[in-house]
Symmetry: D2
Subunit: 466 residues, 4 copies
């Protein structure tokens, strides 16, 4: 069986942390925040909170936030502190062992940790720990980080944490509980977003601002790259564990992952995506009658394109409200039907038109092919596929689940060839230079999935056929 979204990139995780001076119903608050981050991970959900200000209670399971944590809406669990996590599992099916947060007992006491990102040196670190006799029950970096904290010979938890963080390379946005204290940590390059905001005596930390907004925390800032924030009954403090000379923000957060109402890396996602669409319009060489997004991933870019091009924006593909993640088809020949169940063309609108079809990116091209077939069936005269990102060619070591290089259509075909394969009259990617311009910088982001230029050392990369 396989899922509706199999032709999209997957994200690893979203994290949340809450500290409240007054006792509040922390699990319920975590629920709302995690629900807002559901798009960052649909395979498992979990929370840890500090019951009666003492014992750390954990609950996690495979499933969506509403399934796993729904029971917390009906009960009161007054508490000061909690963290939460949603996870998208990647290789080889769901494994409950990899669900987060993870809670451990060790010589530093009891620690709960939730992690978004991927360490690029996890192989090295894990080998070292294994050599020393550590056991691993999961494949998650979270367990690795906890091992390192426990192994540290530093005299205090904070020193052990700092020592550990300084040895980690790659992406990590972390929320953590230790000794009635909530910690938020972000890697020195700021690969993944992490925001913090305070209101009325409670502090909320989350991967995206939408999770703060739902809790009515409207004032916030980024946790800085290389920063550790610490909040407890004595107040909050901030330290830089690693000087942040440069940043490597994941540009795909802005292109596709983050919710359009979120801010990431200091800029509103919606604005950025409209600019990407507009940039596509600026390099247009074909004529179209209407601009149609692949909903919802292409919506905002399509608005930007239409505005810039002076063409009508039309919602020419209707998205079903009922074709969610839980929707599974047992047979492979049902794939086209699955796409049809999710997206349906508005025939009266499409008929006889030249369509500018906007999506955010192209992975394997399979869904695009089906969609363009649907539009032709509905009478489209021409279909011009435009992607608001450059050609996807390289693996990610920092938290995005990209198919193998072999599976990425852009590694084997020119845009012209892809156009023929998917049945488009023309096909254009957003040039990487145009993307630099939209972002206003070519140095503050990681573009490795497009150009193979990794900001930190990474493991050996398979060649184009592997």
């Amino acid at each position: 069986m396989w899922m509706v979204k199999s032709d999209r990139l997957g994200h690893y995780c979203g994290v949340v942390g809450i500290y409240s001076a007054e006792k509040v119903n922390i699990p319920e608050w975590l629920y709302y925040a995690l629900f807002s981050l559901q798009h960052r991970g649909q395979e498992s959900a979990g929370i840890v909170y500090n019951k009666n200000n003492e014992k750390l209670v954990m609950y996690k399971d495979l499933g969506m936030v509403s399934q796993v944590l729904g029971k917390y809406l009906a009960a009161e669990h007054p508490s000061h502190i909690g963290i939460g996590h949603v996870r998208y599992s990647t290789h080889g099916g769901n494994r409950l062992e990899n669900a987060q947060p993870i809670v451990v007992n060790c010589n530093k006491g009891r620690i709960a940790l939730a992690h978004n990102g991927n360490l690029s040196n996890n192989d090295v670190l894990k080998q070292e720990l294994v050599d020393e006799g550590s056991i691993f029950q999961s494949t998650s970096d979270t367990e690795l980080i906890l091992h390192m904290i426990a192994r540290s010979r530093k005299p205090s938890f904070d020193l052990a944490l700092t020592e550990t963080l300084n040895r980690l390379e790659g992406a990590f946005s972390i929320t953590l509980i230790h000794n009635q204290t909530l910690y938020a940590v972000r890697d020195r390059q700021g690969f993944r977003p992490l925001y913090i905001g305070t209101k009325d005596g409670h502090t909320v930390i989350a991967s995206e601002t939408c999770a703060l907004e739902i809790l009515k925390v409207h004032e916030y800032r980024e946790v800085q790259p290389g920063e550790i924030v610490k909040i407890n009954a004595s107040g909050s403090s901030s330290n830089i564990f690693a000087a942040s000379e440069s940043t490597s923000h994941c540009v795909f957060e802005q292109i596709y992952f983050a919710r359009p109402d979120s801010e990431v890396f200091g800029t509103p996602v919606y604005d950025m995506r409209k600019k990407m669409g507009a940039a596509l319009a600026q390099i247009e060489t074909h004529e179209g009658d209407i601009v149609v997004p692949v909903p919802d991933s292409g919506n905002t870019a399509a608005l930007g394109y239409a505005e810039e091009a002076g063409l009508p924006f039309e919602m020419g593909l209707t998205r079903s409200h009922y074709a969610g993640r839980s929707f599974i088809m047992p047979r492979i020949d049902q794939r086209e039907l699955m796409v049809r169940m999710k997206l349906a063309p508005v025939k009266s609108l499409i008929k006889g038109k030249r369509i500018i079809l906007i999506d955010d990116s192209l992975v394997r091209g399979t869904t695009s092919k089906i969609l363009i077939g649907l539009l032709r069936e509905a009478g489209a005269r021409e279909v011009h596929l435009r992607l608001s990102s450059p050609e996807l060619k390289w693996p990610c070591f920092f938290g995005i689940d990209i198919p193998t290089r072999k599976e990425l259509i852009s590694n084997h075909h020119t845009p012209e060839q892809i156009a023929r394969i998917v049945g488009a009259d023309s096909l254009k990617f957003l040039p990487i230079d145009a993307l630099f311009e939209v972002l206003g910088t070519r140095t503050r982001h990681c573009f490795a999935c497009f150009n193979g230029e990794y900001p930190v050392p990474v493991p050996p990369i398979p060649d184009i056929d592997g």
Copy 2:
């Protein structure tokens, strides 16, 4: 506990019927068609098919199509004929007794029937049947129709069916199986839509064309008001059981219920909704900076408004993919959070703007109030609420679940008063004359929920406070 959509109108049902000359996997086909009609009813789903061309097999349960009928995707049930139903239950919670189709044994043999609509003379008919000694296990009109067919003294099933249909008043779009034959029937006024199309030897009948399109049936026509279509191994035939002098198409199908990619009553829904939005723009008296729909019900009208007004269309409210029907909040004080979980403002876009907010209709006003609050919180300078339908004031006897007159905000307040209540800077409904113009006719539709002019006699109507 209560549902996310509690401030929207409810629809009663959607129906499907399939006949195939070759044996095909009818239950799987019914699944796809019903999935496309899921928006017409989320409380129960059911199918009946003719196993091995003989015995009628029924399966129905409370739940969504994917839950109730998902098992049919994995198995083969070769068959010639089937009908299906999705239902929205109305008064007093879910009752499995009311799920459809209903299958009965009677003196006419075995009959399976699925029904969309509501009979306006059901009280009279039911009383008559009760007096004669009929028993009722449900409150559905479907059971009533079956009683009447069974009671008829006409010498054949077809005559009994015609006799029965001629006594029914109000709305009914029906699919029915009897004696290896599929029937499709539509009331003489054509209150509810019903389409029929044929391709490659199979015929599909459904409430909306989107259910035909998903099965790749692209050529279709309306089942005519007053028409009975009959399909079996001998071919298909059509009869008019009642001359159709006038029609009373439910205008709310075009305003809100039907899917935007469907055609109903011979016109594309998407086009019609854009025209409604444009008509709102033509009577505009305020200035706005951007046009924002309440997604997804206001999307198409907002596109029409923006185009007509020459203002930017912006998706200023992000709709969560994860806030579906199954999402339930246990406490009443969580209502606002529930709306926040479903819809979130794009702050960077909203801030400082004058918003033209477009929705399809106003029922109680509770959700609008919360949404406008969200927009203000996000920094909107002004919010002007525009509804692409007239003021809703009267009950429906033909298949729409409208709250009591007392609950309808327009029965007690002028638009200006409502604007104050919901916190809008101004509020306008689409005038009914403008609606006539958009439709191109004032005589072919039922507008009773707006103007109280019922096209057929109806039971006594409670006064404005009941």
Copy 3:
């Protein structure tokens, strides 16, 4: 997939009715009573109660009492009156349509009815109703009875009920609610048990006394054959709707169906079964070392046998607590494993012994064969199978689900042949004359399944191969 108990006889139903002068939590009480009758039906469970002394509320579903009705243990539903039902479905799988109670609206008002038994003239009655135009949604006799009450032209409900009951032939033990009144009815021959008891102002009616005992109603009497009991706020009354010249108590209630702690037909089940076992001992012609029951159906008879024979009673087959009805094996070759999972021999006890193995009856012989194999595997020297009932040869029209005559092993084989088939060293049934003696009468029971002498006219009986 198939069930553990596929080689046992099935029962149709159990019924309950409760009336309390004071408002009590009727659904909870019904739960306990139905739980005690769970052995009479495991496929569906349902209740109807009179909420706030007014509206009849029904809840029923496929499943065990604890699954379907468990939610009623946690909530308060103060009420005066209620009925309940457990059902064992028979032909062709579970059908929710056949679940009981059934509630209808008709010209006599609202009626809820629960029924245990089977009408022997249901074909005739149903044909008559069908001819008059009645529709049937289920195959249950309950729906038929309700049709007849509704159809009756008698001026009152009570007269209509009496008229209806007088036309019914066969077995019916009924609880019913109409107009705030609880009724209990039993057919004139008293085929199925029905008990009534009163304590502290509340009256409990149930198929077996164990359902009264759990509610601490220790004083009770049988509802008499042909009796209607009526209980409401004005008190209780009793009428005989049909003179009861003779009775036809189902002897299988005493042999197998009823719980050993129940009393049915005025005699304790436990005592009766011990006597059946003792009667088997009296005709014994072989020597044994120990007496071993097939648990739990053979337990009580084995105790009687051992006592009479002066042999040790030993629990030589351990019954797993975890092999319940919900336990299903997907493959046919797992049948033997399924028996092994339920019953396991005590090797140290069995080894080298001559076993007198006691069960209540023999249907197809498949399970016996597996069990005897298990005993031999465990080292039994001899196995002598003894059944505490005569040879089962004829169908039942009064509420027991007996396999076809073709499937009944005794229709095609002598006891000696069966012994060889199942691998026993010898095999004896309880002679019918011995059964008469145990019962102390040969006239007050129905023995038709043994001797084919039906106490009332029945439909044509298929020959031995059908």
Copy 4:
């Protein structure tokens, strides 16, 4: 909410291991074996098997064997090797983290381990590991053992395992997979049972022989105290890791835990329990009319008592088949009803009799009190409670979940006082000397829960009020 069996002792676990030279459907075999051990743990179930002879696949969850592992009955997973576990969770609710087997990656490779028992020096060992920097995700001894193996500096897995085992004190019966090899290990005192048997090229290891018998392995032996058995493609071998000077078999396995059809510690459980009952009869000082067991825990002892005393054995309390572990009552005042739902007196038998009531042990006395009440209500003239074990007074550190000393009724009351509390006319425990005699030894078992004489050093024991 609380469970039916809350007044019984809890067991920690059952383990299974299977090795087959030919590829067979290992998960299905594990299912049957674990199902037979279900009485040893109902909270979680899990398996690990070696898919395609390579990768270790784990599946475990909270729930019964049939729920958690039922899916394995329908699918083929050809494999050579597997282990399984059922667990009874003890302190503070179910924790999925404690479910077994546990699989880890470490410097010795991939290891899967399932464990039954409790280490008496786990505090010391854990502290040592924590000091060295180990992290603990669960409270299970299993994780501790795996840490120790990983930490060991011995040059091979086998040496590391042996080193680890030599440091463990207390009870452990282990099955383990490493490098395509199945291991079975038992602690040097043989606290918990562990059996091994081979047939047709496959070897089955399990806590009790009933799990071997269901797989038709009828020849078996105990894994010896202090023995490591190792089985792989090269054959099987056995080593003694610790000389076994004395044994400390848990006497409660023979009194209550093991299934009556099992053999443990080289003796059949059924025989032993009958002897315990007979020993009770030998010290009897009161007269009774019938011997009635509390089913099923008192069944076998009651048979022994009745035989010895020459009194009739009667099943005077009917046990419901439907009151299983999954059966939960929400309110505390439903406790008595819960007992009534599980056990019901046979009134006709009990009335006027002097009852010798036999159970295996007395923990808090709450259930006994209710049962004796039921018997009196049913008319018992006298009730004499007899327990086939001595007075329970001390905690267990070797794998049995005994309530606190404060809760154990025998710590605060003489038998005479307890008789008054539970409403018995008299009450007798089996004297410990009589138990010695039944066992034929006073040195080979652990009787610490009765006499406080622990066979190995244990942590400080709370006083009688803690």
